[in-house]
């Protein structure tokens, strides 16, 4: 993290949300403009969209770094 | 007795017992006489499975029962067995050999599945309609409808199964093969009756109160007799 502390965390949140919204828009464009055969792209986009939530919001890496206290 | 003597004795017993079991399994008629060409590979597979099963069963049983009698210890004292914790060659063997057997069986099974689901030329087509709790048979090539399934001997038959209400299953024990009749779809079954006689088709999938009684006659006749039957019904 470039900026430590609460401010850094909050900024990170905005960045993650921005990325998520961008993915959603891409998804939406793919889904509404291309008539068929889109499911592989959508699957990839959904996976790409799920990862930031799992990683940055849900702190999945705490599972393999069990000693961390909360999200410090 | 030394350790090796135990091993030799048990191995001899294994050979004897498995020979006896295999002979029994391969020479007893467990099942009704087969009446369709598709029954042959299925029976062959069944005997193969029983044969291999017999050998494995004998192997385990002999060692188990031998151990119980030879190594029984009656007092709860401090006597303990030799600390054999593992022996890798043996463990690898009893992983790889079963794996090989399993592969072999899977290939055999795949071949049988291929054999029984293969389409034949010039098949007689019969629509089998199942409903609670009876069967109806339609012969679209002849424009017929019948309460019984009458088939000419040695002519390949294609059954198209469908159901009007719940799931049923078409099973003639002497033909061996079996297929469900599923509402909303048409399933198929290939068979070639090979023996004259009358049999019964049973429903093999629980279908409600009348399931136990759900049956219809299946009659395998000479081709000429089949033609007469068709003509008679068409009138």
């Amino acid at each position: 993290m470039p900026e430590p502390g609460l401010r850094g965390k909050l900024r990170l949140g905005y960045i993650v949300l921005g990325a998520l919204i961008a993915i959603k828009i891409a998804e939406y464009l793919v889904g509404t403009t291309i008539p068929n055969g889109v499911w592989p792209f959508l699957t990839i986009l959904a996976l790409v969209g799920a990862w930031p939530i799992l990683y940055y919001f849900m702190h999945i890496n705490q599972l393999w770094h069990p000693k961390s206290r909360h999200d410090e | 007795m030394s350790r090796n003597k135990h091993l030799v004795l048990a191995s001899i017993l294994v050979v004897i017992v498995s020979a006896i079991l295999v002979v029994i399994f391969l020479n007893t008629n467990f099942i009704p006489t087969e009446a369709a060409t598709q029954a042959k590979p299925i029976d062959h597979l069944l005997r193969l499975l029983l044969g291999i099963g017999g050998v494995v069963f004998a192997l385990c049983m002999v060692f188990l029962i031998y151990s119980i009698f030879a190594f029984r210890h009656r007092q709860w004292d401090s006597a303990e067995g030799p600390p054999l914790e593992h022996y890798s060659p043996l463990e690898v063997a009893w992983t790889l050999i079963p794996l090989a057997i399993v592969l072999f069986l899977a290939i055999q099974g795949a071949r049988v599945l291929g054999d029984i689901s293969r389409a034949m030329p010039a098949e007689l087509e019969v629509k089998v309609v199942a409903f609670q709790w009876d069967w109806r048979f339609e012969y679209p090539q002849y424009g017929l409808e019948s309460e019984e399934l009458r088939l000419p001997v040695n002519r390949p038959v294609l059954l198209r199964l469908s159901s009007l209400d719940v799931i049923h299953s078409f099973w003639v024990p002497a033909f061996r093969t079996k297929e469900d009749a599923v509402p909303g779809m048409v399933t198929t079954l290939h068979l070639t009756p090979s023996r004259l006689g009358s049999y019964k088709v049973w429903c093999a999938e629980l279908c409600g109160t009348g399931h136990a009684q759900m049956q219809a006659p299946v009659i395998v006749v000479e081709p000429a007799d089949f033609e007469t039957w068709v003509k008679e019904l068409q009138k």
């Binding site: 502390g5 609460l6 965390k9 909050l10 949140g13 905005y14 993650v16 949300l17 998520l20 919204i21 959603k24 998804e27 939406y28 793919v30 889904g31 509404t32 291309i34 008539p35 068929n36 889109v38 499911w39 959508l42 699957t43 986009l45 959904a46 969209g49 799920a50 939530i53 799992l54 940055y56 919001f57 849900m58 999945i60 705490q62 599972l63 069990p66 000693k67 206290r69 909360h70 999200d71 410090e72 | -």
Partner: protein, 185 residues
């Protein structure tokens, strides 16, 4: 590290693992539902489906994940005011999401009723998801009840962490449900 602190951390990792296992199990529930969608309907989708509305409510749910994250981060640094405000935002956004689903349902009843091919799939998937949202909302509510003031500290806020994790999971589920229902063709 003192023995007491070690115990607290151990307890925390235990709770975390338990929650993740629960989430794993629940994700198989959603996986099964997604399989049902493709098995029954393939990639079909009726033209009456309101894609823009679906997009908007997806955005709302993503935004609620951000506010939940902000709430959790705030309490981790002891900023109680920011924490409460963000959890309240999350609650509001969650309710807004449910309202959106309600509008969709009202439209759905007209165009693809529940007892028809796509309707069955649509109402089941959104219904199960909405049920999870509802339970998440109830859980979030317990965090900001008046009596909870001053309860969570940077040293001990497992309840916040757990409930927020669950909320994110509900969001992740929707990340997969939205394209499967609204976008595939």
């Amino acid at each position: 590290m003192s023995r007491a602190t070690t115990l607290v951390i151990n307890r925390l990792t235990i709770k975390r693992l338990g929650l993740w296992l629960f989430i794993l199990s629940e994700s198989f529930l959603f996986l099964a539902l997604l399989v049902v969608r493709f098995y029954l309907q393939g990639v079909q989708r009726p033209t009456e489906l309101n894609q823009p509305l679906g997009f908007v409510i997806s955005g709302i749910l993503l935004l609620s994940s951000l506010t939940a994250y902000r709430g959790e981060s705030a309490i981790a640094y002891g900023d109680e005011k920011l924490f409460r405000r963000n959890i309240l935002f999350t609650l509001g956004l969650g309710i807004l999401f449910l309202v959106g689903v309600g509008i969709e349902w009202a439209e759905g009843f007209r165009f693809f009723p529940p007892a028809s091919g796509f309707g069955t799939v649509f109402f089941t998937l959104t219904g199960f998801h909405a049920f999870h949202v509802l339970t998440g909302l109830l859980a979030l509510l317990t965090l900001v009840l008046p009596g909870q003031k001053g309860r969570f500290t940077p040293e001990n806020y497992w309840a916040v962490e757990g409930i927020v994790k669950y909320w994110h999971f509900v969001d992740v589920a929707w990340v997969f449900i939205f394209p499967t229902l609204y976008l595939v063709s």
